[in-house]
Structure formats: C-alpha cells, structure tokens
Symmetry: C2
Subunit: 486 residues, 2 copies
C-alpha cells in the first residue's frame, strides 16, 4: 500500500488524482462553512477573530500550495464541484498566471460565474497568454459586451486572429480549429525539416505530423513525426509523405469531423480554406471534448434542458430553465384530458374504463420510445438512408403488430380476471394493438421529420410521441368502448 502511495508523488496514477481532488473539495467546503459560521457569530467572537484568522490563513496557504500542484483540468473539476461560496474561496487561491488555463477547462456557466465580478481588463490579462483559438472559445462564452471589451484590450495580432475565428459559424470546423501548425515544403530533405523543427525549439501541442504545402500554401500531404524519424535523412519530404489525407474545409461541421476522426482513427487533420490553403488544424483532444460534451448533454436535451445548468445555480433560476418543457407538457396533458372529457358519459356508466385507460396509454408511450431511441441512434450514426428508413418503418410496424397481439392478449386476460367482462377485454386488447401501431409510426416518423427540418430529434421526439400515444390511447379505448359496450 505505502509503495503505491509513494508512486503518486512523482507519477500521478489516476486514482490518486481522484483522491487528491476529493480531499481538496472536502477541505474547501468545510472551510467555506466555517467561515460562514464565524461571520454569523460575528459580534460574539470578535475577540477570537485574530486567532481564527491566523488559523484560516494557514489552512489557505496549504490549500494554495496543493492547488498549485494540480493540473488546470483538476482545478476546474474542483471549482465545478463546489458550492458558490466555497468556489469563490477556491478561485481566490488559484495563482493568477494559471487562471486562464483553468477557465478554459470549466463549463460555460461556471466560467461566467467566475469572471462575473472581474473587470474586462483583468479578464483580458487572464486570457492573453492563451492561444487564439482558446481565447476565442472563452470570449465566445462571455456576455457580448464584456467579450467585446476584452477583445479590445488584446494586442492587435491576437485580436485579428480571435475575430477571424469568431466569424465562423458555431459548430463549424473553422470556429473550433487550432491556428498553430507546422508546414514544410515537399522538396525539403528530411534532415532540413529536422533542423527547421529544432530551430523552433517547441512544437504546437499534440503535433504528431507536419503539413506539407506548396509555394501557394496549398495542402500537398502529411509527414508524420515517426516518418520523419524513421526515414532516410537525405530523402526529400515528397518520398516519405502521405498523400492520402483526410482534411476539412473551414465550413465543414464539427460533427462530421468527429465522425471522420472516429472512423479513420486520426490524431490530427489539416483544415483548408476554399482555395485549398492550409489555415489550421483539428486535434483529437478537441474531438474528445466534443464527443463528451454532446454525450453528456443528450440526456439533458431529452428533458428540455438544452442549456447547461450549473449544479449550484439558485433554485429560482433553475426552476425557470424547466418551464418551457413543463409548459408544453401541461398543454399536451390538457389535450389528452379533453379527449377523456369527451367520453365522460360512458365513463360514468362503466367506471372500470377510468382505471384501465392509463395502461393503454402508458404501454403505447413506452413502446414508441423504444422506436424513437433506435431511430435517433440510427440518425446519429448516419445509418438511415431512404432505403433503410422504409425498411425500418416496416420492421417497427411489424414488431408493433407482434407485441400488440402478445401484450393485448395478456392485458385482455388480466381484464377478464379483474372485471369478468369479455367484451371489455376485447376492447382493451384491440385498443392496445391500435395504439402500439400508432406509437411505432410516430416513433419512427417524428425524429426523422424533426431531423429533416433541422430540429433536434433528441429534444422534441419524445414529447410528440407521448402526446400522441396518450391522446390516441385514450381515444381508441374510450371510443371503442362507446361503440361496442353500451
């Protein structure tokens, strides 16, 4: 055990990092609470103030040292996990030269909270040491006026680069690319390239290959660092380089870049403008962040929470975030309620209908949501061409038929057991079959149509589906009952 612990000192195994973060979070939370307690007791303990302040300062110095040894991403994690008061305390303990790097790793909401009280010139000082794509990323997440003021305080070269990046549409490769890259000519020898790199002293982070361009800066190929090391130093780049290159235009969508990186196992790829000139690169770390972000937001978008929500934002603000979704839900619930309302007379006669009707609606909704999930996945993986779509619809309808018969019979038998009424059992079984077929139809079509009209199928499909299966479930069941049971 102690050996493992010793290791952590010089080589951070993941579990030790996790423990270290947890400890610091615990310490910071406790200190923030203590500080609040002290403030509340204010008058009473004024005499003890000097002592407690000394103790607090000692604790803080220890924490400061601790944080200084953390990777910026770990500090960001700590900040995200803390409640607002403890978070401010922690932020004040982060060395100012590391704050820019830390900001970069936090989520938009926490970032806004952290810089909310800082004047623009201080924000500008924080971000100045960063690369221009990172500055663009940060500035883009600030409120517009603040962002503009920060921009004006940067030096001219940075300002121009950042503005050019901000001019690309959100979600495009251009808006996300990294503008630092190394380009070489194809007639240079490998040795000359090695000399050139050595003169630069450092390479941009995540450089696994250099771009080969012609005189007009147009992309000709790629030379990986391993080709550079393994190849004969006398040979020209053109012999070793890779001509079979996956590249992107600035106006390509990042989601396509993500697909390509995943499919072809890329580590980095060049970005070109419309004249085929290299203007930047995309690296796999950006891709990993993109995928993670999209994955972690999907669950939220499904329930109408498209905006990232700070875990510790005030309750009223969070409550407001949820209103649109609940409002839409109230409306659709009212619609199904009106469907039921139209059949009140028959319910009064056969009150069992009231108890049974939610079953038809609920199974319809659940079955349809299975179709929705499959279609959304197919759309995300690009697997649903027109051909496959028809085939899928046909298959989902067939499944609905099979499942409708099976569960219809089970539900019918259960109804007979409970109410000793065969006609009622037949009505509920038929209503279930009809509702499952409706569910599969809507479950396939809703996400596809939303997708085709440029909407997010993850966000709207389930609402459309359950609105339909609820209303139609009630309608089929109560309607059939009205026709055949009285």
């Amino acid at each position: 055990m102690s050996e493992t612990a010793d290791n952590s000192a010089d080589r951070p195994h993941y579990r030790h990092l996790e423990q270290a973060r947890a400890q610091v979070i615990e310490l910071l939370s406790r200190q923030a609470v203590e500080r609040e307690l002290l403030q509340r007791q204010g008058e009473v303990t004024r005499r003890q103030d000097v002592v407690s302040q000394l103790v607090e300062r000692q604790h803080q110095a220890a924490l400061e040292t601790r944080l200084a040894s953390f990777h910026p991403a770990d500090i960001a994690f700590v900040l995200e996990s803390l409640q607002p008061d403890a978070r401010e305390l922690a932020w004040s303990l982060v060395r100012s030269d590391r704050r820019g790097a830390v900001l970069l790793e936090t989520s938009d909401n926490v970032r806004r909270a952290l810089v909310a009280h800082l004047p623009p010139e201080e924000i500008a000082a924080l971000v100045a040491p960063l690369e221009s794509d990172d500055i663009a990323d940060l500035v883009g997440s600030l409120p517009d006026e603040v962002g503009q003021e920060v921009l004006q305080r940067l030096d001219n070269a940075d300002q121009a680069e950042v503005r050019s990046m901000l001019s690309f549409p959100e979600g495009s490769v251009g808006a996300t690319m990294d503008m630092e890259f190394v380009a070489v000519r194809e007639d240079a020898s490998l040795e000359a390239v090695q000399r050139l790199l050595r003169r630069r002293k450092t390479l941009p982070p995540h450089t696994n290959q250099v771009f080969v361009v012609d005189r007009g800066n147009r992309l000709r190929g790629l030379l990986s660092l391993s080709q550079l090391i393994l190849g004969d130093p006398e040979e020209p780049v053109s012999v070793q380089m890779n001509r079979d290159v996956v590249y992107f235009f600035t106006d390509d969508r990042m989601r396509d870049a993500v697909d390509a990186f995943e499919r072809y196992d890329l580590l980095s790829a060049p970005v070109v403008n419309l004249h085929d000139q290299v203007v930047g690169r995309i690296t796999v770390d950006t891709i990993v962040d993109e995928i993670q972000e999209r994955a972690s937001s999907e669950g939220l978008r499904q329930v109408g929470l498209s905006e990232e929500e700070d875990l510790f934002a005030p309750a009223l603000k969070s409550a407001k975030n949820r209103w649109p979704w609940l409002g839409i839900n109230l409306i659709t619930a009212f619609v199904s309620s009106r469907v039921i309302g139209a059949f009140e007379p028959i319910i009064q006669v056969i009150v069992a209908l009231a108890a049974l009707m939610p079953i038809v609606a609920s199974i319809g909704g659940n079955s349809g949501n299975q179709s929705v999930a499959l279609v959304i996945r197919g759309l995300a993986l690009n697997q649903l061409g027109p051909n496959q779509l028809w085939r899928m619809l046909e298959k989902e309808l067939r499944i609905a038929g099979i499942n409708g018969l099976l569960w219809g019979v089970i539900l019918g038998l259960a109804t007979i057991l409970m109410y000793h009424d065969v006609a009622l059992a037949v009505v509920i079984a038929v209503a279930l079959v009809l509702n499952l077929i409706t569910a599969s139809l809507v479950g396939v079509c809703a996400p596809v149509l939303l997708h085709r009209f440029g909407r997010d199928p993850v966000m709207g499909s389930s609402i459309i589906l359950t609105a339909t299966t609820d209303s139609m479930g009630f309608f089929y069941f109560l309607g059939l009952a009205a026709l055949f049971l009285v």
Copy 2:
C-alpha cells in the same frame, strides 16, 4: 465543382467519402433486389439468365474495385447499412485479406452475422494478420465455442497473448490495452534512441511517445517523439523525458481511463502491472471508440434496449428484445390502475376526476425526469460527492416547491374555467405540489441508489420514477378528492 471533385481522387475530403459510401450502398441494395427478382422469376426467364448473369458480374467487378479503394471503416459502415441479403453480397465482394480489418470495425451483432457461416479455420485465417488486442476483441465477441476453436488455430505466441488479454475482466484497461509499444532506457542518448527506432523500420500505430523503463522494465517516464526530434542528440533520455506521467494499472476501469484522457488531453498512456512494469499502452483512438459506443448506447439503455440491435435483424427477434421492458411497464401500469380502481366510487360521483387525473401524473413524471437527467449527468461526470448530493436534493426539492405552486395555480385556474368548481381546483393544485415533491425526491434518489448498488442508473431510473409519479399522482389527487369533495 469539378475542381473539388478532382481533389477527392487523391485526397479524401470527408464529404466525398460520405457520398462514395452512399453510392455503393445504393448500388448494392439495388443489385440485391434485382437478384431476388430474377430468382423469383426463375422459371420464366431462364433463357435470359446468361445475359443477366454477365451484366451482374460486370456490376460486381466494378463494385469490388470500388470497395477495394475504401478504408476498412467505410466498408464496415456500408455493411452495417445494408439489409441481410445485400450485406452478404457485399461481404462476398470484400477481398479476403481485408476482411479481418473490416470485421474489427463492425458492431458485435453484424460481426456475428458475417462470420456465422464461416468455419473456425477460415475465421482464424481472417484474424491472424491482426494485432493480438484486436484478435482478442474479435474472439471475445464470438460465441464461446467458436472463439475457442479460432484461438486453437492461431500460432502459439499470438494464442498466449490473446488468452492473457481475454483473462482480464471486461471493461478493464488490461482487456483493452494494446500490447505493442516501444520502450527505451533512460541512460541512452537521444541519438541512440533514434538509431534504435530506425532499425525497427516501423513504429506501432499512433506512437506519439516511447516509454522510458529501467532494467526491470519498470516505468520511469515518457519521451515524446517531438522531444526526441527537438532535443540535443548527445543528451541522455533522462534529461529530456517527462517524469510527470499519467499511467494506468491493468485492473483499472476503462471509464476511468476515458476520464483521464479527456481531462489531461492525452494521446497515449502506459499500462503497468502490479510490479510497476510496463505491459501495454492505451491510445486515444480506443478512447474515442469507447466514448462513442457508450454515448450511442445511452439512449437505447434508457428504454431497456441494452443489447445492441442490428437494424435489420428479423422482426420477431427484435420484438423479443423489447419484452422485458414492456413487461415491467405493464406491471407498473397495473399498479397505478389498481390505485385508480380503489377510488372507482368517487369517480362515479365526480367523473371530471377521470379526465383530470392523468394531468397530475404526467407533469409529475416529466418534472421528475428532469431531475433524473441532471443526476445521471452529475454521476457520469463524477460531480456528486456526499456534500454535493445533499445540496442537490435540497435544491431539487426547492425547485419542485416553486414549480408546484406556479403550475398548481395555472392548473387550478384552468380547472375552474372548465368545471366551475373551486374545491376541485384546490384539490388538483395541492395534488400537483405533492406529486412534484415526490417526483424530485425519487428523481434524485433513484439514480443515486441504483448507482450505489452497482446498477445502471440510465436503465432503471426512469421506470422507477414514472411508476412512482403515476401511482402517487393518482393517489394524491383521488385521495384528496375522496376526503374533501364528497
């Protein structure tokens, strides 16, 4: 336009790859359909057979050439998008020396379907050229007996490596790692390392750094290829190398590795055994696949479809896949139905209750699902320590209170408008507040408890939640009505 098209010939821009894939899928589908038609017309058109077979063969030769120019991942994509008959046709057109690489890129289900009719010795021949971690991956996804037979047909060295990988638990770093890596000593000069690498002729794919080890093969640090190129060739590795290294043990979980890669922007990392000896490495392309896979399965797991489903599996098989989920759903629906059943007498008196009760249940379910989504995300991002958990529960309860009052008033007013009954309006408003509070309580606790007991919160939370909000929604509303309205 034509210029862009020309580009695609030597440098595959992503969009052109997409188009090419779509074309081939279209062609293959059409050919499979034509073939089926010809077979059906069998007797009638026997005389035309010779001609049509010639035409078909010509088409197939063209397709074969086309497929041969594709990246294995693109071929896999084509196979996944095709219906079973067309898929078999396409598979028969893939050159046999590329089949192993293609199999590697397909999903488990499609892979099983593709090798289902092959004898083990042929499968062994297909996978033999692959790396041992890839072979382990493939063999692990085959039915047990087939996998064993394939293994026995590999040469001894491969067999030993594959068996050792298969012995690690699923989802561990050891089961996923790549066993090919380059290790050097810290007292070697950079020049000596360069010479060593050149003698190897090739480096393992995605090598961005070599591992520095001592005599006992224990990890000492990392030397990146760029450090190797930029550093003074005379200097020893120990001067240039990075000692501050994130590494993994073979029994670490892959999900922790994914977190670490994302957080620290890693491209590759060494894997060590309990004696700190380097035994393999994890590369970022594996991480990207892991994240993608988990992300694309989350939506499916939410609706109880944990097994990856082949888009074109037979309907009955797919229907069966969905039974457990629908069965559980039927049971919970019966429970809420029984809750309503208990109040049938009062419904008979005030039939408006039947129309209004689904509204209370539905808003409760939707509101609770928002809490569920937030908690699941917090769990996935590791942000919910005990401290944060209490804070979150408190906040969700507060939000439920705020939203309950707001939507309760709206729902109450709507009820007055529809039924002119103030007492009924008060009852429904109070029932809604109670149900929203229940929903937030269950919405936070269900995923946390499932997670703590080692279950998948994504799969079970929503069912537990809606079962509760339905039953309790009906119970609160009808119960209050029974108490105060008659």
